[in-house]
């Protein structure tokens, strides 16, 4: 057991840290809370990713042969932490880099790798995912969007929901049912769909926060050439699960840094409001510190284990439950400390931190739902980790 970074890891960290210090746009921290159209924001983020790409920092986790840096898992974690620490803007093509690119690398053919990967890295083509449907959320395999083979193309019909970045995307990793006659997991196929195809419609979905992070996608007789199948026809469940494993892998590394920053800021506010002499406030802040630290230790242990075994396992469900439930408790506590100020929204002149605490409270409500609900995560732990009989 040695929790110090190795000399190589330290050197990597210093290199990353220096690059971010010199290159993170100075206006970002102000700009991120400002009113701005989604399109203008996205142009900004696309330019930022391009800058990272030119310096060789896009696709840090990707193998070198596909234009990545071939970083070890620990280096990826360091990279994500440093990015959060520097308060760098997110990259525009976050799903392409984190989920879809790695899926194409793992399951795609050579022609697909050649066609898509470079443009994911450079943010020239933005990607989204079409997985969940109105009647297939936690029970993803029950999805009913269909792909019917017609000559050398699939004709796709159906509806997807909870889709991020659909309004900006050039391409979509889409899961459809190609064989309705077999068991639900066995008749699925993953297609790469050009979002400019005829019959694709994107509608923004307004959330309780007032934002539209998500979209609904509608597909009406959309033609997708057979060469756009990833992996094999009717083997889409395996491909889609590979994608979701990435979602539950290193994702939490940056969160831990952001949570600690939020905590530090809340302590600063509590001091200013002269609340830190109140024993109850002290207890609550210390409890939040404890939980954020335990999340950090859990992650270190999990990353260390993935480093040895090579794959993120079902233990990822522990991290997902931990960070989502922690953040909900934290945001609630922040509301208690801020009192009436906590509710003031963006735009209110008296709002603390431009209304980000009111926003954070509302946004955290989604944490135990997105990326697999807490209930589904506990099912995964019960069955796949503890070996209890499947409940569904």
């Amino acid at each position: 057991m040695d929790l110090n970074l190795t000399p190589q890891e330290l050197a990597f960290r210093d290199e990353v840290r220096a690059w971010f210090a010199a290159n993170v746009p100075k206006d970002w921290v102000k700009r991120r809370n400002a009113e701005e159209s989604m399109e203008a924001r996205f142009t900004y983020l696309r330019a930022w990713q391009r800058k990272m790409f030119d310096a060789g920092w896009a696709g840090v986790s990707w193998p070198k042969e596909y234009g990545g840096r071939g970083a070890t898992l620990m280096e990826q974690v360091i990279f994500i932490e440093e990015m959060a620490r520097a308060e760098a803007p997110p990259m525009a093509n976050v799903l392409g880099l984190g989920l879809i690119g790695p899926t194409i690398i793992a399951y795609g053919n050579d022609a697909q790798k050649k066609r898509y990967l470079a443009k994911i890295l450079s943010a020239e083509e933005i990607w989204c995912q079409g997985f969940s449907e109105p009647n297939a959320g936690s029970d993803l395999a029950a999805l009913s969007s269909e792909g019917k083979l017609n000559g050398n193309a699939f004709i796709v019909n159906g509806q997807k929901i909870w889709n991020s970045y659909g309004w900006a995307a050039d391409w979509c990793e889409l899961v459809v049912r190609t064989d309705p006659s077999v068991e639900k997991h066995k008749g699925l196929t993953v297609l790469l769909v050009d979002m400019k195809s005829r019959g694709v419609e994107v509608r923004p979905l307004k959330q309780m926060t007032g934002e539209s992070e998500f979209c609904e996608l509608f597909f009406r007789d959309v033609r997708v050439p057979v060469e756009n199948v990833v992996g094999k026809v009717n083997d889409g469940w395996r491909v889609a699960m590979g994608t979701l494993m990435h979602e539950r892998g290193t994702f939490g590394a940056g969160l831990q840094v952001n949570y600690r920053r939020n905590f530090n800021r809340l302590v600063e506010i509590a001091h200013q409001m002269k609340r830190t002499g109140d024993p109850l406030v002290r207890q609550k802040l210390a409890q939040a510190y404890t939980e954020i630290e335990v999340m950090r230790f859990n992650q270190m242990r999990a990353f260390s284990r993935i480093n040895e075994t090579g794959v993120p396992g079902p233990e990822g469900s522990i991290q997902k439950i931990f960070w989502s439930e922690l953040n909900q408790r934290f945001q609630q506590m922040a509301q208690e400390i801020l009192g009436p100020y906590g509710q003031l929204a963006h735009g209110a002149p008296e709002a603390i931190d431009e209304g980000q605490w009111a926003y954070g409270y509302l946004r955290s409500r989604g944490n135990t739902i997105e990326a697999g609900t807490s209930e589904i995560q506990r099912n995964i732990i019960g069955h796949f980790v503890l070996g209890l009989p499947k409940s569904y």
Binding site: M1, D2, L3, N4, L5, T6, E9, M74, R85, V257, R260, R261, N264, R265, V267, E268, A270, H271, Q272, T276, P279, R282, Q283, L285, A286, Q287, Y289, T290, E291, E293, V294, F297, N298, M300, R301, F303, S304, R305, N307, E308, E315, I318, I321, F322, E375, Q377, R378, N379, I381, G382, H383, V385, L386, G387, L388, P389, K390, S391
Partner: protein
């Protein structure tokens, strides 16, 4: 960075598990806990042959000279096996003597010839060393773990206002049992009238030795609690797989399954926090003291709740004397308050972290 145990640490842990499975099965735990002192000399001797009482004691004082991570690995297995007796009390006293820069009694503690404990609490029952009020070797200490079998008692007292540590011979003081819920580890009231002993340290040296010893014992306890939680979870999961109602194993119902999932989250999280704190203490990390409190805050609540779920999942069977879960449930309650409960350690975190971040400090990570 590597959070896993090294090969030699893993071997030590595996061997400890095998050792306690043979030397201290639960039938032995039940026999020993029915005795007056919950101490068994034969078990103690065989633990001493393995070198366990001297894990942390330097080799030149007859110990194994290992670190906190090794101790945590051993403690986890002891918690799993619910090993009764004065191991933790002896460890705490030995750590205080060594941290005070003395070698007194250490060789005998390492060899198992002497058992020891540390007397801190008074009637106010505060774990904060500032609360120590007893003047010299007079008066009474309370909640002293395993004092009944201790050959040596390290005592925290005042010497003309300064904190001081003394080593006192166990047979020179009056010890009265304070029966509690944990049957495997006994508490005593100790009256020091007529005590024979010597000054170990005073002033700052005494304070820092006491702090160090409490940090070491607290992390060891957290690792021990983790081992207990692991066992409680395993018993509950096993029961949920085999017990059938309405024609199905009860573990198939999500209301039961999700309680088991929570037990896993708490157990694994307690483990992460305990080992991090062990590593931080060994490596004098800047956040070591806060990490100790983080581990104890988390484990105190998690261990109690895991016990609750462990009983609940096993239903009526879990509430019987015959079922082993209550032995862990009882110890969880005692361990929760030992060396300060979650409330105590949250306040300690507030002092170590929150009070040091002042209102005008820049927000940095």
């Amino acid at each position: 960075m590597n959070f896993g145990l090294s090969e030699s640490q893993q071997i030590l842990k595996n061997n400890a598990r095998k050792f306690f499975a043979v030397e201290c099965p639960v039938s032995e735990v039940r026999r020993i806990m029915e005795t007056e002192s919950a101490h068994d000399e034969k078990l103690w001797r065989s633990m001493a042959e393995q070198g366990f009482p001297g894990v942390l004691i330097p080799e030149d004082s007859g110990g194994m000279g290992l670190g906190m991570v090794e101790l945590a690995a051993l403690a986890e297995e002891m918690g799993r096996a619910l090993v009764p007796g004065p191991f933790l009390a002896t460890l705490l006293a030995g750590a205080a003597i060594e941290a005070a820069g003395s070698k007194k009694h250490l060789a005998e503690i390492a060899s198992g010839e002497k058992k020891a404990t540390l007397a801190l609490l008074e009637s106010g029952a505060s774990w904060n060393p500032d609360a120590v009020a007893m003047e010299g070797l007079t008066g009474e200490k309370m909640f002293v773990p395993d004092a009944g079998v201790a050959d040596v008692i390290v005592v925290a007292a005042r010497d003309r206002g300064d904190l001081a540590l003394y080593t006192v011979y166990g047979d020179s003081v009056q010890r009265t049992a304070m029966p509690g819920v944990d049957l495997t580890r006994r508490l005593y009231k100790v009256n020091f009238a007529g005590a024979r002993g010597e000054l170990l340290a005073r002033g700052e040296a005494a304070g820092s030795a006491l702090d160090r010893a409490l940090d070491i014992a607290t992390v060891t306890l957290c690792a021990e609690m983790t081992g207990g939680m692991q066992r409680v979870m395993e018993m509950a999961v096993e029961y949920a797989k085999t017990r059938k109602q309405f024609g199905k194993p009860i573990g198939q119902y999500q209301a039961v399954q999700h309680q088991c999932a929570d037990m896993l989250i708490w157990t694994e999280s307690s483990r992460s926090a305990a080992y991090y704190a062990a590593w931080a203490l060994d490596n004098h990390a800047a956040d070591a003291r806060a990490a100790v409190s983080v581990a104890k805050v988390y484990a105190s609540d998690a261990c109690r709740e895991t016990g609750n779920r462990g009983v609940q999942v096993q239903g009526g069977m879990g509430f019987t004397w015959e079922n082993d879960v209550h032995l862990y449930y009882r110890r969880a309650k005692a361990s929760e308050s030992a060396f300060g409960d979650a409330t105590f350690h949250r306040e300690r975190i507030a002092r170590l972290i929150i009070d040091r971040m002042n209102a005008s400090s820049a927000v940095g990570v």
